[in-house]
């Protein structure tokens, strides 16, 4: 089965063609980062305007490039969670395309897309596993028995990890989105100059909280600020380093705890923050000690993309799940409400 995947839940327009026999045939991504950078965050109306302009040209490109014109068996589109106006664009275009082609369509849960993205890699993880979903809007630990069988183990009680990266970056006036910039700057940071807290690691449980870390970062930035309101470049690098270590350590501690509680030895990390090299490195070291392994997607499939939607959609389509002609999007949609395969 050959599936066209469409992702438009936030600020990236992604399309891909996945074939259940041949694997991923190709993907295309248009990122709106430049559009939103001026505002320091995603402006929903501008996101929707860009999606409707870019989607058909991207689809045209991917179908031609993967030699899939006239060969698509089904369409998968992100139907939530995300920005309602942005989701509607992908949903309407995707559903109407499927109708015009006379093929089935399916709405895909964006976080299920992220969660399954590592399965697109060679030597994918086997079920069951624990998943850490760390992105701009989510920080969740999930027990994954099979596709669609998810149990929430813990989540952030306030900011998501990616959001914390973005806010910390903004405090030091780094570009949006801040995660990759903090990560790059942290490489030049001196370890040990600042010591940031590891929130909620001193008590049992698998929930997270990053808002205290955010305040701590702001105080550190303010206390070290010069006349222009910012610390000097080396100090920023040192803060970035301390901040990243704190987030990464917190995530690692909870992941290890989750694996032990579930009695499992496979961890999957997914979502934008799973692209963080320091997180990957520290998880690898920590999990090796408890005979466990961590799996993740290639960098470009950690952040939003069409490939993960094509793949997740294909799994559900292959067991016969489909969507009626009505386009329904769900801006807020807990992962554990998904149906089993």
């Amino acid at each position: 089965m050959r599936v066209l995947g469409i992702e438009s839940s936030c600020d990236e327009t992604g399309v891909a063609v996945y074939d259940s026999e041949a694997g991923l045939l190709g993907h295309e991504l248009y990122t709106q980062i430049k559009v939103h950078a001026e505002y320091g965050g995603v402006v929903p109306e501008l996101a929707s305007r860009d999606h409707i302009r870019k989607l058909i040209p991207l689809i045209d490109e991917i179908l031609k490039r993967t030699d899939s014109v006239g060969a698509i068996d089904a369409v998968a589109y992100t139907s939530g969670p995300g920005l309602i106006g942005a989701l509607l664009v992908g949903g309407c275009v995707g559903r109407a395309l499927a109708y015009a082609w006379g093929v089935p369509a399916i709405g895909v849960h964006h976080m299920e897309g992220h969660l399954l993205a590592p399965l697109l890699e060679p030597n994918p993880p086997a079920f069951p596993f624990v998943a850490l979903l760390v992105s701009g809007g989510h920080t969740q630990l999930v027990e994954v028995k099979a596709i669609g069988e998810y149990r929430l183990l813990g989540e952030s009680l306030d900011d998501a990890a990616g959001e914390a990266f973005d806010k910390a970056a903004k405090m030091m006036d780094l570009d949006y989105p801040g995660g990759p910039h903090i990560a790059r700057l942290a490489e030049q940071g001196v370890a040990g100059r600042f010591k940031f807290p590891r929130p909620m690691t001193d008590r049992p449980g698998l929930d997270f909280s990053f808002s205290g870390l955010k305040t701590f970062t702001l105080n550190t930035v303010t206390q070290n600020a010069e006349a222009n309101g910012l610390p000097d470049d080396q100090t920023c690098a040192d803060i970035a380093h301390a901040f990243q270590e704190a987030v990464v350590d917190t995530l690692v501690i909870k992941c290890r705890r989750a694996l032990q509680e579930c009695n499992m030895n496979t961890l999957v990390i997914a979502g934008g923050v799973s692209a963080n090299n320091r997180l990957r490195e520290k998880l690898e070291t920590a999990l090796a000690k408890i005979n466990s392994r961590v799996f993740y997607a290639r960098h470009e499939f950690c952040t939003d993309n069409g490939a993960m939607i094509a793949y997740a959609g294909c799994q559900r389509l292959m067991v016969g799940q489909t969507e009626p002609l009505a386009v329904t999007v769900t801006p807020r949609w807990p992962l554990d409400q998904l149906s089993h395969l």
Partner: protein, 237 residues
């Protein structure tokens, strides 16, 4: 020439098929559910007209002005159908469709029509159309502005007995008693057909229809979000 017409630009939505002789139409006025309604309505109306998508020669959709989300639902569906079934698609003006609908209902009307839609934020989308012997002409192009400016314009430029259409007139000051006001007047897909036919024929003549750009007509482009204040230049660290 068979035309499939879609409208989701306001609180109502509708779909129509013109098969060259008759027009078939399906409407829905359930608010906030256009994305759920539109494609099922397309399917229904194609069956009612005893035809299918492959037999359609052109798709026409109201591309604005109106609700931004509604416009994108209409255009999104139209784009999918158009690209998927290789049918040329064109966008038509919502206000012109409202005016055309009025002419369809009142074939002997001669004079001026002023359709207006509430644009929120104390503004309206509006335009002026002139009807002569059943034919509609654009008199003043669609625009967005404060309700007072509409009143001012109409008083200065139109005869005392024009017809005011649409919910924009719920926020524009009530005009003189000589003006006919119908604030409940809404666009409908059956009227898109005539507008599209005029436009399609014009475009076919200029052969501009091959790769039609189906772009929303927002009219309002400023965004009320605050731009970010930077200390260091972008990409400097």
């Amino acid at each position: 020439m068979k035309i499939l017409a879609l409208d989701a630009a306001t609180e109502v939505c509708s779909v129509a098929v013109w098969d060259g002789e008759n027009v078939f139409e399906r409407r829905s006025d359930i608010p906030k559910s256009h994305a759920q309604q539109l494609l099922p309505l397309v399917d229904e109306v194609l069956s009612a007209a005893a035809t299918d998508l492959a037999s359609i020669d052109a798709i026409a959709v109201t591309h604005g002005p109106g609700s931004f989300t509604g416009i994108r639902i209409g255009i999104g569906i139209a784009q999918g159908l158009s690209y998927g079934a290789k049918i040329p698609a064109i966008g038509v003006n919502t206000l012109e469709v409202m005016a055309q609908g009025y002419v369809n209902r009142h074939p002997s009307y001669n004079g001026y029509l002023v359709p207006a839609l509430d644009a929120r934020m104390a503004e309206v989308y509006w335009g002026v159309y002139r009807v002569e012997n059943g034919i509609l002409f654009e008199y003043k192009a669609a625009q967005v502005c404060a309700p007072e400016n509409v009143t001012e314009y109409c008083e200065a430029n139109l005869p005392s007995c024009y017809t005011a259409l649409g919910h924009g007139w719920k926020v524009i000051a009530t005009p003189a008693a000589s003006v006919q006001v119908d604030p409940e007047w809404m666009p409908r897909a059956s009227a898109i057909v005539q507008v599209a036919e005029r436009q399609t024929i014009a475009q076919i003549e200029t052969s501009a229809i091959a790769e039609p750009p189906l772009e929303p007509l927002y009219l309002r482009n400023e965004i009320s979000w605050k731009k970010r204040q930077r200390i260091r230049p972008p990409n400097s660290l």
